[in-house]
Every structure is written in C-alpha cells, then in structure tokens.
Assembly symmetry: C2
Homo-oligomer: 382 residues x 2
C-alpha cells in the first residue's frame, strides 16, 4: 500500500428536497451575491429554478444568471462566465446541472482569481492557488465532479479537451437529490453508467500497487452501477436505485477508491477526450466504445486483476470472458461499443490518434500510448 493523503472537505447533502436549503448553505458562509450557472432553459421551465431562486432570495442573496452551458463545455463560454462574474462582483459560483455545468462553474471560479487567460490553467502555464467558493445542485450523476477537485473543459479552437485539478476546486456543498435526476433521458443514463465504470476501472487495472481493499471498494461501485442501471431502465421512477446509482457515481471519483494505489493512469479518458473534442461525442458514449478495445489490448499486462474483475463483477472465469461480458452488457443497455455507432469512420482515425497522443502527453502516458498503440486500440474499435 502506497503512502497517501486523503482530504475531501466537500459537504454532500444527499436526498429528496435538499435543494430547498441551498440559500441557507450560502448564507452560512456569508455569501450575498452568487452566479448561477446552468445549461438549457428547460431548467427554468421545470420548477427547479424557482426553488433555487426562492431559497436564495429568502436569505437575501442576489443571483446573477449564467445559462447556456453545453455538454463537453467550451472554454469560450467559460471566458464569458469569468467576465460576467467579475463585472457583477459575485462572491461564489453555484452550478445547477450535470458535470459539464459544474466543471464550467469550477473553471469560472478559478479563472476569476487568475489575471491571465484561463486556458493557461489547463496547459500548466499557471497554477490554481485560489478560487471563488463553489456550490452545486446536481441533476445528473456521472462525473463525480460534485465531490472532487477536477474540471474538464474543451478548447474549441485548439480541439483540446483537458483537465484542471486543485484543492480550491472542491465544492463547499454539493446537493445530490436523486429525484432531480428522474428526468435524465435513457441514453444519458446509460452513458453515465459507462462513465462511472470508466472512473472505477482506470486505476483498478493500471495501478502497479492496488490494495485488495481498494479493489473490493471499486467492485462495490461497479456492481451497484450495473444493478441499478438495469433497474432504472425497467423503472425510471425507482428512487432507491436512482439514489444508489448517484452515490456510487460520487464514490467512484472522490479519492476513496484510489487511496493507497500507485502508478495508475487514465488511458481510457485520454483517448476518449479526443472523441469528445473532435466529434462532440457524449463522454460516456465515447468511453463505452474505448473501454472494451483498450481492455483487449491491455489485459495481458495485468491478467490477475482482469481475472479478478471477470469473477467479481460478472461471475465468469477468464479475463477474456470478463471483457466480453462488459461489452455484451454495454450492448444490452444500449450504449455504443463501436466507433461506427458514433458516426466515426476509418478515415477519421489519423486525426483522432494525433489528438489522443497530445492528451497522452498531458496525462503523462505518451511513452506507452504512442501513435502506433493508439492506432491499434482505436482501429480495433471501428
């Protein structure tokens, strides 16, 4: 077991009705003016906006609206957000939405405190030392952003999808109400399942040190995601399944499962980010395509852990059967497993490989994931 620091100061407020107290959480922290980040105008029609704005108004908190954030969120939009946050002198950022809205909110919060161009924080030209306090109300469970210090944003000019991470980006309070996720469309539910599984398996398979306790925690998350996704596809109104899915999504990327692990990397994310950056593919849909292809290529490097996965998750005997069972399950729930299902053709591969190689460098894994290897993996996913 490797030395580690575990420190996660985010307060999770989980359950039905919790969004009604958002005003109180901000007021307790002395906040008087907040920027409310969101995605589509649907949010305003569905009652949640009224709940949030009433809760803020009751506590005398002013609200500056910032809507129109799209999935695979864009750095240009973030720049607009920073300008508005400065102009309106907001004291905090509140995200209401999924991971894209929250990641944009985190980036705005960090960007306000940085004098240069915010993309510098992604390229490593500058570090993040402070940020406005961040709050969230989640309407989609997938990215784990509600309880971690990461944010992922796409630069549409350079076609790069990169991430930032810093302690200042832990949300102060994240509200996770499974009822607000009931309306998540079927396709986004299954993409989210793939995303949570991807978060779970990256370190699980790639770590050079992966204590068995941590493997057990990862399998607890994956088995819960598989079980609750099936329940929700049958009955989207099953609150208990929705809740466990959401809590599993949070635990998959809040630092818990990687404590004591060493030498791990995020190759599936490095490759998928290129699909999202170049073709605006939903992140989870890209991951369900990449994962089986990557696993087939990678499994001989860690056969014991792939055997463990096969047995603990799908009750099958060999690494190959485990990978095949996962691919079959993705097909069953209806998330893609082939690039062709995303409209990506063989002729597109060179551009993807080139972009993914840049990501591999950013992720520090370009030695292993060189152009040849990336071509092999992506080629097998056609």
């Amino acid at each position: 077991m490797e030395n580690f620091t575990f420190f996660n100061p985010t307060q999770i407020e989980f359950g039905a009705g919790k969004e009604q107290l958002i005003g109180q959480h901000l007021a307790e922290r002395g906040i008087k003016r907040v920027m409310l980040c969101y995605g589509s105008e649907r949010f305003k029609r569905e009652g949640l906006f009224d709940t949030v704005s009433n809760s803020l108004t009751e506590k005398g908190i002013e609200l500056v609206e910032f809507g129109g954030i799209v999935s695979n969120p864009l750095i240009s939009k973030v720049r607009d957000g920073i300008a508005s946050a400065r102009a309106n002198k907001v004291e905090a950022i509140l995200a209401v939405g999924g991971g894209s809205v929250l990641d944009s909110a985190k980036t705005i919060a960090a960007g306000v405190s940085y004098e240069g161009d915010v993309w510098d924080l992604f390229t490593g030209k500058a570090g993040i030392t402070s940020a406005l306090p961040i709050f969230s109300i989640m309407t989609l469970a997938a990215t784990g952003s509600e309880m971690n210090l990461f944010a992922v944003v796409t630069n549409e000019d350079s076609k790069e999808k990169l991430f930032i991470g810093a302690p200042a980006l832990y949300p102060k309070v994240s509200i996770v109400n499974p009822e607000l996720m009931r309306g998540v469309p079927r396709d986004y539910l299954v993409y989210s399942a793939a995303d949570v599984i991807a978060h779970s398996i990256e370190a699980y398979f790639t770590a050079t040190v992966h204590p068995k306790l941590q493997s057990r925690l990862v399998e607890s998350v994956i088995n819960t995601v598989i079980e609750t996704t099936e329940t929700l596809l049958d009955d989207p109104s099953d609150y208990n399944a929705r809740a466990q899915f959401a809590w599993a999504a949070t635990l998959a990327l809040n630092g818990l499962t990687i404590a004591g692990c060493a030498g791990f990397s995020y190759p599936n994310h490095a490759i998928e980010h290129s699909l999202s950056a170049l073709f605006n593919v939903p992140h989870g849909a890209g991951l369900s395509v990449i994962m089986p292809a990557w696993m087939k290529w990678y499994q001989s490097r860690n056969p014991a852990q792939f055997k463990r996965f096969a047995d603990s998750v799908f009750g099958v005997a060999t690494p190959e059967q485990g990978i095949s069972a996962l691919e079959t399950w993705f097909n069953k729930i209806g998330t893609p497993t082939r690039l062709s299902q995303l409209g990506i053709k063989e002729a597109d591969l060179p551009a993807i490989v080139e972009n993914a190689y840049i990501n591999a460098r950013t992720f520090g894994i370009a030695d292993t994931y060189n152009l040849d290897v990336l071509s092999t993996i992506l080629g097998s996913a056609l």
Copy 2:
C-alpha cells in the same frame, strides 16, 4: 435510501514516515503551543517521542506533556488534562497512541472550551459547540476515532462508559503510519479486529434502511479485516496487510458505510461498554464475546441480511452458519467468545444487566433492550 449529510473534514496522512511532518501540519495552522497526550512511558523509550518533539521544535512549537492515559480512559484523567491545558494555555491537542489516548485528547479539547464539569458533555447536560484543534498520530488501528467526531470515556465513580459526538471533534490531521503499529501485541491485534467488525456490523444488521451499496462497502471492510488479521498473525511484519487493516479500521467508522442508512443502533456497543466500565475488559475482547450472543438473539429480526452476511463473508448458506463461522473465527484468532474467558461469572450478571440498561437508555434503545432481553443475551454468553 435515506437522506443524509456526508461531511468529514479530517485530513488523513497515511503511510510510512508521515509522523515526521507533524510539526509542519501544526505550524500551517498557526499553532505555537500544543499538549501532547500519550499513554505509557514506553512511547518515550521507542524513538517516536523524539521524532515528534523534534518535528515540533523545528517549527518553533512548544510542547506540554500529558502522559499516563490508560485504556478504557477515565474522566478523572481527562479533568487533569483540561486543568493542565488551561494552565499552560495550549492552543491544540496532539494525541499519540490508540483510541483511548485520542478519545481522551478529544474530550480535553472539548472540555477546555466548556466552563462546567466535562462529564456534563457526556450526560447531555451541555452541548459541544467548540473545541481546541485536535491532531493525532495513531499507534493502534481499531476505534476509527482518527477520522470521526466521537469519543468514549469512562466515569469511574458512576461506572458509566459513555460517548460524545460533535463536528468540533473531527481531528484536523490524523497520521496513520502502519509501521508504528508493528509492535501491537498479538492480543490487541485480535481485539482490534473484533472492534472493527463490530463497528461494521451494528448498522449493517440493525438498520431498517440499508442500501445494498452500503452493504457491499461493509463487506469489503470485514473481508479485509479477516484476511489481514490472519496474515498478521502469521507475519506481524507484513506492511501491506498492516496498512490495509488500518485503512479498513478508519473506513469502518468514518461515516462512509452508514450514509443513506436509517433506523440503526449500536446494541453491541451499549452492552460491551458495561463490561469495560465494570471489569475493565479490553473493548474489542468484550465485543467478540457479545457479538455472537447478540447475533443469535437478533438474527430472526433480519434474516435476509444475516443470510447475506453468511454468504458474502464466510461463503456459507444460512444465518446460523454465518454466526457460527464468525464465532469459530474469533476462537481461531484467539479473541474471547465467552464471558468466562473474561473472568466474569453468572453472579456478576445482574450488575452488568443493570449497567447495560443505563447504556441502552443513553443509546436510545431501552425499549428493545430491556432488563429481560439483556439478561437473555448476556446469559447466553456465559
């Protein structure tokens, strides 16, 4: 799944050598004078004291010593600690030891901020609104106190062993270095295993709402404790086993496994605290006696969960076989399963029952655990 708040701001510094940075952690928080709580003078002979005091001195931090804390720590000693902390105007409390030392340190930290007698905080006569900042360096993994807001102390006059809990009691930083636990005697290792299992099973069996994800997390902890205890009994120098045991102990009582659970209680702790209070029994040894007896009495109230436990932990089919397997395992590792092994006789039962009934009231479960029920459970453990 029940609504919940998850908020745990303790920073865990886990691994070899981490105690060398204790001075830095205090200095970062502006602390200039600290009370160092510990147990026996052995601590001074074994080098750890020098490491800690050098680390503090390097950062210009003054150290006020407060040694002699015993297991099943006493409120009289805590009162002495509060007096010394006030007289020396310490700004923080640092515990170096196991759960007893840390729980005493937490209580001193809270007591300094309360004008009346500190026992009032245990009886509910007064609440805990603030405490001096608390730090810990753990030399025993068992109680989970390093990452939670609880403390348990015995009042030797009234023969009560009670607990306090408040957010101010979360340690700021807890250092968990498995190497410092290598010298834990064999008997305290197996008592600790019983303690961690007890923390894991209370909510697991008694909750009226216990989401399956949470059951899986609990089983991950229990299976790790069983496996690593056996490894450590064979080879006390196995760092990886020691480390996973310690991390499992922390996770068992840091709020993670009970998130979303409802209607649970701590009957095994309520009963065991009487054994410790009246006979100064090691907490874990008392628990390994109480648990099988309690399980046999309780299992028909939650047969599905007992069946799950039997299968997931011991790979056996029925609730009865699961309980029997646990008792057999306790016997195998050498932690007691009978009151007689603790030197407790039938004639002692009435006093224990009476004391446990007071605890049951404190724990809010006296309706179920009345004098008759307590007699039945304790009688079956003779």
